[in-house]
Symmetry: C4
Subunit: 322 residues, 4 copies
């Protein structure tokens, strides 16, 4: 990315957001969950399906529900096949009305697909034996698929970094700074965490276009991230935020795009996460409250993550100057 | 790679294409599917087999077909083994002509290999029990192999980046630029996408040799790639393309080698993809049409990927100058 | 991290340890096992659970114990369900007192869940067949889960780097140096090993605050790590350790934070490991004994890792000067 | 690594080879298979076992053999347990001499462990049912272990790069150069391949010590590696090889340590490989023969990997000068 403050025109299309449309939208680029606010059309049904991505990303509840539903469906199909093989196809099966035979064939199919195979009912005709052979190899492949997916879900790292609800403009070493705070809400260790902040605004000189500028950070990388990290962009004279008031950000439709990447030790993989702050999510002349707790035993450093969003009023620089 | 424009001789063999042969071939270096147009001989049969690579790369249809075929083959072999154990080897089996006994042994083998084990037929002799023991451990290992392969196929990331059909030479900030356009045709997020473009041409000073020169890009990396990216090489005075006409590229057998790498968030892995443009795939004095759509609700940025190849005529610099 | 010696105030919060609390604690930041001495509160129960992290990190003994316990629990639950289906639910089951029927149902459940399915007992009612269907799909998912976890445990690299028990200050090229020694205690090859050392002390100018300073290393990276590596920070005039005596380190509550990362060839993954030395774990005017052994055959380089902690007295610079 | 030619003393221990011992050994540091010529003592039995590393690295033949052997052993143990449960423990089992009962119990165990479960023999006593429960959960965990290991073996990338048998000193642009040649012997694509060459020699000024110097390469990285790559170190005035004759290398016990790393596209992982050339494996005043073949159809670039070792005589610079 490596945007310098004076790179404006080119960045626009490099971010992959068409400038004319981007300006048309009043919405945000990056949703609170880190996904991009983007629609793609013209893909074939196959790309739209994106089966693997969905199977990996859906909740465990939905995943298990889907597996159970497919399990029942597959067995229902094989039940129909066994019944279609005729009345003598299954030895040990009772004869009876179609519904009863279907039900019995369904439970026989379950025994076969799951490889339980009690043996009270058994395929007796060539056709039934062939269906049973097909079902057994289907079962083998299905177990392999479900096992593979379960592991893929396990090994897919999800950085669960909590962002402070508000970005703030706080006093900082005589000047002010844009700041936000993040905390690691999992026990996973994240190391070598890196932050990038890009400011997207309307271009004052080109109506209907947007400009994207990377903000210089006091520090853009930390070696380890055991507790919280307050990311700081000092608003010095070089900052595109210099001299701006809250209403300016609103008018410019400003959005602070946040990109984080780090190494998750539990998953042994690099993880990326994103978020953004729109102008109305900014707070001015406040600072973040301390998240640290004093413990009576004083055994270790303790932090209350639920206080990540807490802000404290500070005197405005103007007020303190008076 | 890091080729500077004036590095010519050395690059030739560093790219791994022998210069004398490379020049002999009128064909392209990189095929449209990203594979290299290369044949290797003198490998042992083992390396040629490249079993794992093929099992990972083949289509799902072929993979499932192969598993089913092997499943049938293995069971056929064990059926022969059970029949070879003699008439009394399997309790519960009917006696009959060889074909019938083979068929019964086959279905018994399926029940054993898949671990269904109804029990209507059972091994009754020492020989049959030994064969059954071998089959059970074969089944265990086969399930492990298929499961492992299925997961390896799942976890093998395939960046599905669509390249514009044509590379173009378009007006750009007073001069012209070599450009091509890419789009992400999957829902997978690709971040930190990096592009390298290498121009391969015949060496005018050394007949029968080729030179490879890396082209300087306006931007060679983007932080995220939600929609499309137009990669731009400005044809300034330092560019090896400066002053060349379409016929020059044809005569020099020019090929633009494109190398992309990025981080796929769904697979949590780095992915590479390649493509190339030959001289006859270039279009001059055109520009890419916008892929963005206006949506009535104006909820998000929308893009029609099927329009990635669309070009628009532009006035030629000469025409506009007149 | 990239801390320069004169960066003090900012580093404090960047390390994620709140300065006011950090100074209050007399304990270490990094525990000998590499974990951070940190407590997090305010997380939901879900984040606290961190199920996956625990399942991956616990010992194999505990993991197997957990799997067996869950196996017994699940089967007990299904045993209750089968008994609740009524006396005629299981064909082949003997009738008897509740305890006997529960036991029989438990073993039937084991046969079903594990897909052994002898068939001596079989579900005979609709209710029992439905319970059996639920159990079979539960079994399928459980096998997938356990297999996925076993592989995740296998593929989770754990760098087993042994640190010398003591950090030392030893004579070094006319001056002294802070040194510690590490060795690879596994057969895994670790390549491209990188070291960072950060000195944490109380800030003499801001009571109750800490400063963190990265120490310059004679070499911060080695290409391969077959045996041992002595990491050396020369105490030259630029070093924050210049002129300090052992009692100074104690008084400043000094802690040397060590961060290592490298590429593990067995796991094909990047591994991180951490440790620290507190002032009382330092030894002065000693040097590390050689770990190398002479072998009669002289076939290879041999090293005795158990001698990694061994120190030798050296004349103090003062003594040798007298 | 980043060794500059004049760094001598420090590099010695940084490479992890104790200088005093290293000089004592006449053998090579890096074996032809890329392993280090190093012995480690003083590890506990657990570290020495390195079970996982061995299970991943052994040949498929040995791995399958080990699985089968353990399969038989586990079933033998359970057979003893079933027999120990008494004569009535297994319903359907014939009574007979101990050997026959053990054999029958063994095959029953196979049916249970593999979850085939024909049902002709079934546990009939509480003790036998408990043993069967233990065996079923053992089977579950064993299948998970074997499946996990099979996949770990699959996903463990092994770069199969062939090194030319000899390093050479060949004429190069008016001077000479140290060269060796590598080729990719698999269909796997390796991209972003990087080479480092370190020269290890006896230190002429410190008897019994070694020095390690990184050699500057004409190019140390290639973007893709479809065919072969000749790695070249020009022997200019700055080279530690300047002015040395073959006998000098012998006398200095020179060893060229080669370190390669790249990204394997099939495995989507970074792979490392190593090799070395000792003085007696060097050839002087030769050059590598072309590996490229002319194909009648001239469809693609073709290479005969079996010719990687072929050398051609060249006139010595001295001879050509005369």
């Amino acid at each position: 990315m490596d945007l310098r403050p004076n790179e404006t025109e080119a960045n626009d299309r490099d971010l992959g957001f068409g400038s004319e449309v981007a300006a048309r939208s009043q919405r945000r680029f990056i949703n609170p969950d880190g996904s991009f606010n983007v629609e793609r059309h013209g893909l074939g049904w196959r790309a739209n399906l994106s089966l693997y991505h969905q199977l990996i990303s859906m909740s465990w509840l939905r995943f298990v529900g889907l597996v159970v539903a497919l399990y029942l469906l597959i067995n229902a199909v094989f039940a129909l096949a066994y019944v279609a093989c005729g009345a003598q196809a299954l030895a040990g099966a009772i004869s009876g009305p179609l519904a009863a035979r279907l039900l019995q064939a369904f439970f026989f199919s379950v025994q076969t697909f799951s490889t339980v195979g009690y043996g009270g009912v058994e395929p007796a005709s060539l056709a039934a034996n062939i269906v049973m052979t097909v079902e057994s190899v289907t079962g083998l492949l299905s177990v392999a698929l479900v096992t593979g997916l379960v592991f893929a879900r396990f090994s897919h790292p999800v950085a669960d970094i909590v962002f402070s609800r508000h970005g703030i403009v706080a006093p900082y070493r005589g000047i002010t700074a844009f700041e936000f705070r993040i905390a690691n809400s999992r026990r996973n260790q994240i190391v070598d965490l890196q932050a990038r902040v890009i400011l997207a605004t309307l271009d004052p000189e080109r109506p209907g276009k947007r400009i994207f500028r990377q903000l210089h950070l006091e520090r853009d990388k930390v070696s380890f991230f055991p507790l919280s990290w307050t990311v700081v962009h000092p608003i010095d004279d070089d900052s595109p935020l210099a001299g701006l008031a809250p209403t300016d950000l609103e008018r410019m439709e400003a959005e602070f795009l946040i990109l984080l990447s780090g190494f998750d030790e539990t998953f042994s993989q690099i993880v990326h996460t994103r978020s953004s702050y729109k102008a109305h999510e900014m707070r001015w002349n406040v600072k973040f409250s301390s998240m640290f707790e004093s413990t009576p035993e004083d055994r270790s450093v303790a932090m209350d993550i639920s206080r990540i969003h807490e802000l404290e009023e500070v005197e405005t620089p103007a007020a303190s100057a008076s």
